[in-house]
Every structure is written in C-alpha cells, then in structure tokens.
C-alpha cells in the first residue's frame, strides 16, 4: 500500500515538474532576437503595433514555394517584387521604371538604388539569380511558367546552358529580358515575382531551397517591414527595416493565422486590427463598429466541368445550365448583394467586354428547351463537386442543385476533401466543380492559359481554335485600339461557348479597427503595409 502511495506521489511530482518545465517563460513569448540592426526605436514617426489576420497558416517565406495566399503575403512584405498591380494600374516597387519595346519582345527594368536590410546593395544580380531560380526545374516552383517564352529558357531548363540568354544585366541597376515572340502579358507575370538576395540564397543548393531554415527565419529582407521572429508557430513578428526606401512608421506588425470566425470576433474586441470578413457577416460587423471596406474580387466564382470527359460536352447543355441557375437571387440572398453577376469568365479589364454579350437571365423554360434540343438524358448523374467548409459556397451549391433538378438535370452534391480535389482534377472526373480562378485586372493576356487549347491551366480542357487565334493576336500588340476588337470577338465566343459556368464576382470584404489609418484593400493587403499607421 505504501509503495502505491509513493508511486502516486511520484506521478504527481512528475506532472508538476512537466508543467513547471513548460512554464519557465510566459507562453507565447519566445525570446526576443538579439540586437537587430533594424530595431524600432529610431522609427520615422508614429510607432505602435498592428495586428493583421492571415486566413491561412503561413508556412514559408520562399517566393518560389509560396503555395498559399498567406505565404505570398508574408514573403511579399519581407522581400519585394519589381512591381505590383493596383486596380487597373502598375505601381513600381523594386523597379523604378520599366520600358517595353514596340515589338513587345524586350522588357527593360530600371531598379531602385537601395540596400538589403544588412546593408548589401540591391543589384541586377539579385534579380537575375531570382528569375533563374524560378525557372530551374529543380526548384519545382509553381511560378516557373511566368518565364515562359524567354530566349534560351528551354536550353537552360534542359541543362544545355548554365544561364538564360534572354536574361541580361547591362549594369548593376538594369535588367533586360528578351522574348522569342511578342507577349504583352509577360511583364505583369514576371514583374510581380518576388525577388530574393543572391548573397544569402545563391550558395544554397537549389533543391534545398524548399527546406532551408533561411526561408523559415529569413535574416535579410528588403521590404518596409522585415521578419523578426515567429512569436508562435503561426504568428510572425515584423519590425521596420531602416534600410528601406519605403515608409515604415510602425514599431511592430504581427501577422497571425486565425479561423475566420475567431478573426471577426477579435476585430470586435480590438485584438486584431485588420481582417478579411465573409460577405454574409458584413452587416453584423458594421453594427459592431468595425470599418468595412470592399475590394472587387479577383476572379469569377464558377463551375468547371471536365469537357473532355464528355458529360457536358454539348454547348447547349452548358447554356441550359446558365439559364437554369438564378444567379441574381444567389447574389442577393447568399452574398447580401456584395457581388455582381458575370456573363464571361474573363470578366476584366472592362475594356475587353463588348456590350452585346448574351445575358443568361434566370429562365427555367428556356433551359428545359435547350436540354430537349440537346436530347439530354435525365438519368445522367451530374456531380456538383465542392470542398465543403466555406459557408457561401456551401449555400450556393445547395441552391444550384435544386435549380438544376428543377429543369431535369440529375444534379447531386459531391463533397471532396482538399487532398482529393487534385486527384479529381488529374483524373478528369469533375462534372461541375465550384472554384474561383484569379484573373489579372490589368492584363487580359495573362489569362490566355485558362482558355487556350492544351494549356495546363485550362481546367475544363476547353478548346476553340478561333478563340486561340484571337487571343494570340491580341497578345502580340500593346495598342488597345488594336486589341479591343479582338477581345470583343473573343469574349463573344467565351460568352457563347460557356467553357465554364460563371456565377458571380464577389467583393472581398475587409474589416479594420478605428485605430488603423491608411489601410486600403484596393491597393493591397499586407504587402502594402508601408501605408499603414495606428493611433
């Protein structure tokens, strides 16, 4: 008996010891890093801390491997791209100026004269190193396609050349890129890639870049605020970079991953300063005193079908689906009016859209007539494929299922896990998959890969050679007067053929607390933190 008691005591002591061990410092306060060259004390003005909500868990600062939105945000603040798009315009960051040759094959970037946070000058060598690393097959970057068409790229990727001949640097502050063929969309794709310091990453083997600790805790950056430490495994502290040419008035920025509902609650209590909120929550957020701003969405919520699998290969069936869905009612009732209907998948820039597109207004009778013309077999099951968990999409798909059934399409909700989604796409087994694919608000040619025959980004595997020809011609000119009629024709084809079922473009809704000034989601999110102050 006494032995049992002493064992009980030992167990108790062990538990207490474990707790004490875990509790040497207050939780969530990992030690401050050593004296940083960029500490907050000598800041330009205001000061103060700002807390920013990340809607996904950040995993890496590597721009080569930034696969989720949060990675892109943290990497884009610590490192910087040559340029960003703001609304329908370009805004230079590491590029001071840029020039495009008349034949659209040569792009010249003049770089900012600035330093990395450790005082090393930023030069064209950093840019060349970064671009080549993006292109190298061993990097396995999901952005390598942005360099498509650069002279000498194929030789480089096949290992026949050590460098890409089309990428050159006449001097320390100029980068010249030459293409094999004209491509007006090229600059946006390339210019928005994030640049990293060669003197830090150049010595790391390319296939180690994904796992190097230097991208987990980067020591050198160039943004207005740079990485300081991981406060916890999903919260990052940024401090001002005194070498930066951009404003950096805040003392700290904390970027933290939180579930959406938690973030909204924290906006209300002031524990978070800036967060994205769901369209359905906008009224409640406003009532709670949160400042709400809208930004036009960057893509159309659409239903994609594997057209090569044959089920929805008949264009009349796809048109029937357009008529069968009451999109206006979805926008009004599910999204609280914070969205607009799109009649074409390529919904911006506005100059590409002619005013005579067919409007597929809700008309179940017309849908039935089209299905009859197409000899639609009502016994064919059509899966409505969805990754569940986002309230608006869940609701939309429920409604669509009912509306399709009402016109005689045997539609069934089919829920898939995120990890199964890629398999579904690879196996070409999706009938109507709801997703949103981003488009560029500035340059329509960037979306070519989503429409042209045989392109990997063409999710539906839609193919129309007439459309390809129009898009190709339009991307070989920078003159809007030339491009506009070409795009109008292209849009008419897209509108008629319905390669995917466009539903709506929903606004991104952002909430911020009263103490934040200078936040404008239309300019950018975390990557435009140079504009922010707090009171």
């Amino acid at each position: 008996m006494s032995r049992a008691r002493s064992l009980a005591k030992i167990a108790g002591v062990a538990l207490i010891a474990a707790l004490t061990f875990a509790a040497c410092t207050p939780p969530g306060s990992s030690p401050e890093p050593g004296a940083s060259p960029t500490d907050a004390s000598s800041s330009t003005q205001a000061g103060g801390d700002l807390r920013y909500h990340l809607y996904q868990a950040p995993t890496t600062f590597s721009p080569f491997h930034a696969t989720n939105g949060a990675d892109g945000e943290i990497a884009g603040l610590h490192f910087r791209p040559l340029m960003v798009t703001q609304g329908e315009d370009y805004h230079g960051i590491l590029a001071k100026e840029w020039e495009v040759s008349d034949d659209l094959t040569t792009f010249t970037f003049t770089l900012q004269e600035t330093n990395w946070s450790d005082g090393t000058p930023f030069t064209s060598a950093d840019v060349l190193y970064t671009f080549e690393t993006f292109a190298a097959p061993a990097t396995a970057s999901g952005f390598s396609g942005r360099l498509g068409g650069v002279k000498g790229l194929t030789d480089f990727q096949e290992g026949k050349a050590d460098t890409i001949t089309g990428l050159t640097a006449p001097d320390d502050h100029t980068v010249v890129i030459e293409l094999d063929a004209p491509n007006v969309g090229f600059m946006t794709g390339l210019g928005t890639l994030i640049i990293v310091p060669k003197h830090i990453y150049g010595d790391i083997a390319i296939d180690q870049l994904q796992t190097t600790p230097e991208f987990r805790e980067p020591t050198v950056g160039i943004g207005p605020y740079i990485f300081s430490r991981w406060v916890t495994d999903d919260q990052i502290e940024f401090v001002p970079n005194e070498e930066s040419f951009e404003d950096h008035p805040l003392d700290h920025i904390y970027a933290q991953y939180l579930a959406g509902d938690v973030a909204r609650a924290q906006l209300e209590t002031g524990e978070i300063d800036i967060a994205q909120i769901a369209a359905a929550d906008v009224d409640a957020a406003k009532a709670a005193g949160i400042n709400v701003q809208a930004k036009e969405g960057i893509g159309v919520m659409s239903l994609f079908s594997a057209l090569d699998s044959g089920k929805l290969a008949d264009v009349k069936v796809r048109q029937a689906i357009m008529y069968a869905i009451d999109r206006q009612s979805i926008v009004d009732n599910v999204l609280g009016g914070n969205a607009k209907i799109a009649e074409t998948l390529l919904y911006q820039p506005s100059w590409t859209i002619p005013n005579d597109l067919t409007e597929y207004n809700y008309d179940p009778d017309k849908a039935k007539a089209l299905l009859a013309e197409a000899n639609w077999d009502e016994s064919v099951e059509v899966n409505l494929d969805i990754v569940p968990g986002q309230a608006d999409r869940d609701a939309v798909m429920e409604i669509i299922a009912g509306q399709l059934q009402a016109v005689g399409i045997n539609a069934k909700l089919h829920q898939v896990q995120p990890a199964e989604l890629t398999t579904l796409v690879e196996d070409r087994k999706f009938d109507l998959l709801i997703t949103i694919l981003s488009m560029s608000p500035v340059e329509p040619a960037l979306a070519n890969g989503r429409f042209m025959c045989g392109q990997s980004l063409n999710l539906a595997a839609y193919c129309n050679e007439e459309l390809d020809q129009l898009l190709k011609e339009a991307s070989e000119s920078a003159d809007q007067a030339v491009r506009e009629p070409l795009y109008h024709d292209a849009q008419r084809i897209i509108n008629r053929d319905v390669p995917a079922i466009p539903l709506y473009v929903s606004n991104q809704m952002w909430g911020s607390t009263d103490r934040v000034q200078g936040f404008d989601p239309t300019i950018g999110a975390l990557t435009s933190a140079q504009n922010w102050t707090v009171s």
Binding site: M1, R3, A4, R5, L7, A8, A11, G12, L15, L19, A22, P26, P27, G28, S29, T60, T67, P137, A138, A140, S141, G142, S144, G145, R146, G148, D207, T211, R216, V231, T232, D233, D234, Q235, E237, Y254, Q256, Y257, L258, A259, V262, A265, T269, E271, Q417, P418, A419, E420, L421, T422, T423, V425, E426, T435, L437, S438, G449, S456, L457, L459
Partner: protein
C-alpha cells in the same frame, strides 16, 4: 518481477512496431496525394508533371511502401523523424515547437479537472442520495452531453465579446507577461477542466462510496476521530489509490492536446498541428505525432501495469 517487466516491455515493443507499420500503410492509402496537392493543378504555372516528379523522387515516394517504411525506421534510429512535406521543417522541431503550448494548456486543465472532479465526487458520495448528490450527478450528465465546442463558443461570446473580460483566442499577446498569459488561459483551460472533471466526479464518487462501507472506516469512526479526519485521512487516502491509473491514462492527452479547443481558441498546440497535417496529407508529421502519442500511451500503460503488479502480486502470475 524482472521477468514480468521484461515480458510487458516486449509486448509494448511488438505493439509499437505493429502500430507503426499499420499507420504507415494507412496514411499512404488515404485518398489524396500530398505532392500533387502541393502543386495545385488549378494554379500551377509551368511544367507541373516535371515538378511533381522531381519532388516525389526527392522524397522517395516512388519507392514501394515497405522500402519507404524501412527508410523511415532507419532514420528514426538516427533521431530523425523526417521533414514536413509542406514546410520542410524537421518533424521533431515542429512537435517541439508545439508541445509546450499543449502541455501548458492540458496540464492546467487536467489539474482543474482533477481538483474539481475529486472534490465534487467526494461531496456527492458523502451526501449520497441527497439533493447535493443528485445535483452534482445531473450537472455532470449535462456537461458530458453538451459538446465542448458549444460551451466554448458560448463562453467566447459571453466573456470575450459581450462582457469583454477575457481575450477570445490565442495563447498570449506578443511580448505579454504572465498576467496576459493567465487571462488567455482561463477560458480554454477552464472549459476543458470543467468538461474533463465529469469523468473524475463519477469515478471519485463510486470509489469513495466503496471506501465508506469498509470496516476500517467504522473502526476509525468508533475510535472517536473527527469526521473530517475520518473522511480525509482514512477515506480519501484509500479512495485515491486508483489515481495512479487515472493519472497515467491522462498523461498522453497532455501531449496530444485537444483538437477542438485548440482550433477554437487558436491555441498553437499539437492538436491543431495534427489536424492541419492530416488535411494536408503531410505524412511525416502525422506519423511523428501519432508515434509520439503511441509511445506515451504504451509507456504509461507499462507504468500502470508495473504499479499494479507492485500493489497486487497476483497480477505478476
């Protein structure tokens, strides 16, 4: 005794190997492939097949599963549990990063659960078949019937949003001190502690009732000892003996964390990490997490077995 311990140890090792094999195979049979998921076909710009192939080859995912398993076991013996497929960080480091937060939350909530549970159970036992007893049992039944996520959401709404007394989520504010840390701890640990106390209440009540009927209790009372002394020194001490088992069974959960509470309160612990790893099909992290939990369960069971054997020699036979 030594042979008993060795036998139990051998059984534990065989169990561990069996579980690791089954788990290794299972993680690979779940639909969905981490590499093809990492290179999302909806957004990948470039030669996706080549990228998938390069990474699969680098991670050795093209080898047959038994070969992968042996490679994994070999690395385990070198102290390497592999690297996360998503972040590339060593699994040991990921778990070590998350563990303190989980031990802290689970430890405090377990202490709350034990204190509340034992106190409640003893009071219910001493007041058997009175209104106090029924109220305690009914309260416990109510708590066990309402899911903890509901209680958590309600508590966040009341104490975080409406009254503004406590923070709604997170482990601390950056650079916060102990005051802030404790404020962040109250809701999650309190809720888990209260929910967790239910089991202890029922256990302590029945254990105490058993003890109260024993002859030595009658003896103690007949000696003229005061009631508190009879209850605490003679009754409670004996009723607490099974505490060894209860404690040893709760230790693995100290490390495993609570998926629901960690998710709701944005607590950066192992439970949340495990859920993310499972949905991302991050095999090495899932394996590492489950193996550590398995080892803890086995070790704790072993300790419990040994303790019983010490207490009751018949078990050694």
């Amino acid at each position: 005794m030594v042979s008993f311990v060795l036998r139990r140890l051998a059984i534990s090792v065989v169990t561990l190997i069996g579980i690791s094999m089954a788990l290794f195979a299972l993680t690979r049979f779940i639909p969905g492939d981490p590499v093809s998921m990492y290179f999302n076909p909806l957004t990948f710009e470039g030669d996706r097949e080549a990228a998938v192939e390069a990474v699969r080859a680098r991670l050795g995912l093209n080898d047959p599963i038994p070969v992968q398993y042996i490679a994994w076991v070999r690395e385990i013996f070198n102290g390497n549990m592999g690297f996360s497929m998503i972040t590339g960080r060593p699994v040991t480091e990921l778990i070590a990063d998350r563990l303190p937060a989980t031990i802290y939350l689970m430890g405090v909530s377990t202490v709350i659960a034990i204190v509340l549970g034992i106190t409640g159970g003893i009071i219910a036992a001493l007041r058997k078949n009175t209104i106090v007893d029924y109220a305690t049992l009914l309260g416990a039944l109510g708590l066990v019937s309402v899911p903890s996520f509901f209680i958590a959401l309600l508590a966040i709404y009341i104490f975080g949003l409406k009254l503004g007394w406590l923070p709604t989520a997170g482990i601390n504010v950056p650079n916060g001190g102990w005051g802030d840390a404790i404020r962040h701890l109250i809701l999650p640990a309190g809720i888990m502690g209260i929910s967790g106390s239910v089991g202890y209440i029922r256990w302590a009540r029945s254990s105490m009732l058993d003890v109260l009927d024993q002859d030595y209790m009658v003896t103690a009372r007949s000696k003229g000892l005061s009631r508190p002394r009879v209850v605490l020194q003679h009754g409670l001490r004996n009723a607490l003996i099974p505490l060894v088992t209860i404690l040893s069974m709760s230790i693995p959960s100290l490390f495993g964390g609570s998926v629901v509470i960690e998710q709701l309160f944005a607590w950066p612990g192992t439970g949340r990490m495990a859920i993310d790893a499972i949905s991302n099909r991050d095999y090495p992290v899932v394996m590492g997490f489950v193996m550590i939990t398995t080892i803890l369960v086995l070790v704790c069971n072993l300790l419990a077995d040994i303790t019983y054997a010490l207490v009751d020699p018949r078990i050694r036979l």
